[in-house]
Symmetry: C2
Subunit: 156 residues, 2 copies
DNA sequence: GCAATACCCGAGTATTTTAGTCAACTATTA
DNA sequence: TAATAGTTGACTAAAATACTCGGGTATTGC
């Protein structure tokens, strides 16, 4: 699991899509203008998102992209995985100078952590994020934050 | 919040430190050998970890690094932040072509998410990770995974 | 049918980050 | 005082990121 600006671009673009889905297909040019991401870069990202079956395209005038399914069925982890590919795990892929010793121990620890982050993001859908923002004006995040300990304990 | 191999190196090294803390100061040469990270690269990482007050150093023969406080008081998020610096937020830092419109909306959504990941990692200490691994032999992760939904709901 | 729209695709490139090297230096201990 | 080990800074190779360019192809509306 990696979290880079590339993944952020992808999630941002997907959120833009989710927010404008009622207006029919959304063109990359629109997303580019709204989100300040270069058109050609978006094309590259959406090629990957399409291969991952997260979006589908409509060609021709008035065309654009559309979520391939409902926002509540698309998870943040899927979006990030789609553009990041090759998660290359732990450098020592079973083989290598990584025996039974401490090396494998800490490597596994990191892998566990990485898995937990992935699982965490796999539980957040685009719809969750959109809903959260829409609701936010009402309950302006007086909550959250301190519930964290409980959540971590539950996952851990 | 960014999650790169750099952060993984830092967390791995800190875990190595946490695991060998009973043996007095741990030299970077030891960590380098055990974890397969180049010595000079470790030096750069530990310079940052030291500046962030996560480790303290002991010079001279038999010297090395030591956690600056107990493992349960050092959180994964702190380690990653220390080596990653400049989280550069959302490109539009208040100013720029980011008005009241949709741009700010989705940017904020991403920022919220980023904050949540940060909060999540801020609840996991080095001691948690070490303990988890030690317990793992007993309850070999038949659990986990499906508890995720609950956890996310709690945070969200 | 034809022009405009907008996706599709591959090659190329500038910038940044990552990962690592090298060399000189300082503090500490045996 | 020699060996150890942290401290610092400059420098570099390789990879990832972010972006450009130039051509495609499918679709629609006039």
């Amino acid at each position: 699991m990696r979290l880079t600006t590339k993944g952020r671009y992808a999630v941002t673009a997907m959120l833009d899509l989710a927010l404008h889905i009622d207006q029919g297909p959304v063109s990359l040019a629109d997303i580019s203008e709204r989100q300040g991401i270069s058109l050609s870069y978006l094309e590259q990202l959406f090629a990957k998102l399409r291969r991952a079956d997260l979006v589908c395209s409509v060609r021709g005038p008035g065309g654009g992209y559309r979520l391939s399914r409902e926002g509540q069925d698309i998870y943040v982890a899927q979006v990030i995985d789609a553009v990041n590919e090759s998660v290359d795990a732990t450098k020592c892929k079973g083989a290598g100078g990584c025996q039974q010793g401490v090396t494998c121990l800490t490597h596994h620890l990191w892998q566990d952590l990485s898995e937990q982050i992935h699982t965490f993001l796999d539980g957040i859908s685009l719809a969750d994020l959109v809903a959260r923002r829409e609701v936010q004006n009402v309950a302006d995040r007086q909550d959250g934050q301190q519930d964290n300990k409980i959540a971590v304990d539950t996952i851990l």
